[in-house]
């Protein structure tokens, strides 16, 4: 046991330190021998596998190394966040496109499932019998059906939507068909970038003003209003910048040409199914986490806040949720990691994420080890960044104990 010693034992006589004896009866000697044995067994196994791999690769005449990343890919990719052309661009770029697609699913999925899960988790504790029962059924059903089956089912449902010619038409602007969701798209110009920059600057300014306001409240007991500054900095300032640059505003509407739509933005059925499926599935888990987090707050907190005259919603927002957050964060982190890892199920419904594109690369080039290594590195770094961020957040909100 390597625990710190009791302070009362500070002056006690301690057995003199002895070196390791080369005898089987010395536990430290035994430990060292066991460790050497186990480590060499593991090393031997790894060496054996590596040796076999090398031989097999030699026989198949597969060159190792990441040189293939610079070759022209020729993989058609349906949706890419960065410009990509299969006839020019390389495998490396194809995999980067996949990485962006994975992140697109993971980030938006995390946001959606957190919102949905929190609403459902709070509703499950509602006094209204109907709400609490329905949310309980929602959670139980979704948690007990494999996520892959749910994804496939969503995808099938989206495929049974009408063809583009009979698309569900919402105000001649949004069209829902089996080719996905088409919607009007703002033509993005330089002025919009500057407005965005202004918005970010405004948000930072509002945040700083809020900090000052909170400090003033601590000093004087009165909190200066924050919303005028927020309105001015985050709405008026970007609008002014945009207007000063000529207020460009062109919207491209989708239009039916032949058998499909052209123009406008599109959410592909694959992405749509993946996003809905993952968010709904994960929201069931998040709902349970939120519910147990709220229940972990002692009922005395509710009663004390009620005695102070706070309304239900204010108690929940100001007293209970901040305390529940401490219980919620660690399991929430693992759900965020799960949704990120589950985004690799994209491969089953044909959305091209990093796993799917690495797999295609691997099949075309035969570079199995490199392909798998890329996937491992990508996911390990995403997992690690989410864990680090959540640990930082957890440490920040942790209860400071005496």
């Amino acid at each position: 046991m390597s625990s710190s010693l009791d302070p009362r034992l500070a002056n006690a006589r301690v057995a003199p330190k002895r070196g390791v004896r080369l005898s089987w009866s010395d536990p430290r000697f035994r430990n060292i021998v066991f460790q050497i044995l186990i480590v060499s067994a593991v090393a031997l196994a790894i060496w054996y596998l590596a040796y076999n791999t090398q031989r097999n690769l030699d026989i198949q005449h597969v060159a190792t190394g990441f040189g293939f990343l610079n070759r022209t890919a020729g993989i058609p990719i349906g949706e890419a966040l960065i410009p990509y052309d299969p006839s020019i661009n390389t495998y490396g770029r194809a995999i980067v496109v996949g990485l962006f697609n994975t992140l697109k699913v993971a980030v938006i999925g995390i946001v959606l499932s957190t919102i949905l899960g929190t609403i459902i988790g709070i509703s499950r504790l509602s006094k209204n019998w109907l709400i609490s029962k329905i949310t309980a059924v929602y959670v139980e059903t979704l948690r007990d059906i494999p996520v892959l089956l749910q994804l496939l089912l969503w995808y099938t449902v989206l495929q049974t939507l009408p063809a583009p010619r009979q698309a569900i038409n919402i105000g001649d602007a949004v069209f829902l068909s089996n080719r996905g969701l088409k919607m009007p798209l703002l033509i993005w110009q330089d002025a919009h970038w500057w407005a965005l920059v202004a918005f970010v600057a405004g948000a930072v300014g509002t945040f700083a003003w809020n900090r000052t306001a909170l400090r003033k409240r601590d000093e004087t007991g009165e909190k200066p209003a924050v919303w005028p500054a927020a309105l001015g900095l985050m709405v008026a300032l970007p609008a002014l910048v945009w207007a000063a640059l000529g207020a460009p505003f062109t919207i491209e509407y989708p239009a039916l040409r032949g058998f499909n739509f052209t123009g406008g933005g599109v959410v592909s059925p694959e992405y749509f199914a993946l996003l809905i499926g993952l968010s709904v599935y994960t929201s069931a888990y998040i709902a349970e986490i939120v519910r147990s987090g709220i229940q972990a707050v002692p009922s005395g907190q509710w009663e004390a806040a009620g005695a102070l005259g706070l309304r239900q919603s204010a108690i929940l927002r100001l007293i209970v949720l901040p305390q529940a957050t401490r219980v919620i964060i660690p399991p929430m982190t693992s759900q965020y990691l799960n949704i990120t890892k589950n985004s690799s199920l994209a491969v089953a419904i044909g959305f091209q994420d990093v796993v799917s594109l690495s797999q295609t690369t691997l099949n075309q080039t035969g570079q199995a080890i490199e392909g798998i290594a890329i996937v491992m590195v990508v996911f390990l770094s995403i997992s690690l960044s989410i864990s680090l961020f959540m640990n930082w957040y957890n440490a920040r909100i942790a209860l400071t104990e005496r």
Partner: protein
């Protein structure tokens, strides 16, 4: 969120002699509805809206699934079913005839039709094994023997080749038995591995072993199962000496064992950590060796503590076995998807998905109910 408000009125002091029934406003279905469905404007509005949506949804589903559904179809002269009545529905009703025609394929895959009683018995054996393992009076060492015997019997039944059973090669097995095999063998092999890894990760005196265990757990938990399955199907053949080939199912099984092992190891480690330190110290003071201490004192208590999270982990990866679809192994989900691709039953995939979802749900719901009941028992044993 707060204690129900309807008992405030009930605590009005009435004379003892009064034997009248409580007034309608605090007792009976109307009072219950007032308190639980129509407590305030917002609550009433939500109740009415939700009620409307539920009724509409239920009526729609009833129309689709029962009223307009086609349960059987006539048989064509050539012996094949005639899906014309199903096609005529155009999605207005369910075509359960598709499930009726395909259910044996969904459950048993491409296993020879006349021999399908064998996988059926295997499913029953698996169910029996789960039920026996769930009962407390069987939690003893003999249970391990029962597992070995039953798993052996299942292998015998599936492969055959002895006792007059015809030999069925592994690559035409399919359906639910494959799902159960992947999950059960996965757990059976991952569990000992997980216990060793958990002990290694807790080890204070063997830093090298601890490092290996930490690396294993974190590497596996950091990557998705899909990547591990790809890895097993692509890289395992490279790892083995030239000429040695192992089949697809075994490769997926190895990936699943490694995957589950890492997660179960974390669960077991949680149990070991939750155990009061005094237990291990007392064992040390008695002069027990490490293995005696572990096998007789700490591990049995820790495992008992982690039964509920262990069952939850098992539920999780029971569902995750469906991912083998991606590398083309014929489990329940793959069989269902293959059944859907039959041109005769084009457009009936929703029905087949629903049936598969019900099968998965039945297994997972049973397990999660069980896990909750064990948790309650453990809690009450703790709070005595």
């Amino acid at each position: 969120m707060t204690p129900p408000a309807n008992n405030t009125a009930a605590s009005i002091h009435l004379p003892v002699a009064s034997r009248d029934r409580p007034p309608r406003s605090v007792y009976g279905p109307m009072a219950w509805m007032r308190a639980n469905l129509f407590g305030g404007w917002l609550s009433s509005g939500v109740t009415i809206l939700l009620g409307y949506l539920i009724v509409r949804g239920a009526v729609g589903f009833f129309d689709w699934g029962f009223l307009n559904a086609v349960w059987t179809v006539p048989t064509l002269p050539n012996g094949n079913p005639d899906p014309a009545t199903c096609r005529a529905l155009r999605g207005a009703g369910a075509c359960w005839a598709a499930v009726g025609d395909k259910w044996r394929f969904m459950l048993f895959g491409r296993y020879p039709f006349d021999e399908q009683w064998r996988p059926a018995i295997c499913i029953a054996l698996f169910l029996g094994l789960y039920i026996v393992s769930a009962m407390r009076q069987f939690w003893r060492k003999e249970l391990a023997l029962i597992w070995v015997a039953v798993l052996g019997a299942i292998g015998l039944l599936m492969w055959g080749g002895v006792f007059g059973l015809s030999y069925v090669p592994q690559d035409i097995w399919g359906g639910l038995p494959i799902t159960l095999i992947l999950a059960t063998f996965g757990l059976a092999f991952a569990f000992p591995l997980a216990v060793l890894v958990a002990l290694g990760r807790r080890s204070t005196q063997m830093p090298a072993v601890k490092l290996i265990c930490v690396l294993y757990v974190e590497l596996i938990r950091g990557v998705p199962l899909v990547a591990l399955l790809f890895m097993s199907s692509v890289m395992l053949p490279l790892f083995l000496p030239t000429g040695v080939n192992i089949d697809k199912l075994l490769r997926a099984q190895i990936a699943i064992i490694l995957f589950v092992g890492a997660y179960v190891a974390e669960v077991v480690r949680g149990g070991l950590q939750a155990l009061p330190r005094g237990q291990a110290e007392a064992a040390d003071a008695l002069g027990l060796s490490y293995w005696h201490k572990t096998m007789k004192i700490t591990l049995p208590q820790a495992l008992r503590l982690v039964i509920p999270p262990l069952v939850n982990t098992f539920i999780g990866f029971f569902k995750d076995t469906s991912l083998v679809l991606i590398i083309g192994i014929f489990d329940l989900l793959t069989s269902g998807k293959t059944a859907m691709s039959d041109p005769t039953w084009q457009g009936s995939s929703t029905e087949i998905y629903i049936v598969m979802a019900i099968i998965y749900f039945a297994f997972c719901y049973a397990m999660s109910t069980y896990s909750r009941s064990v948790e309650r028992k453990l809690d009450s044993a703790h709070n005595r």
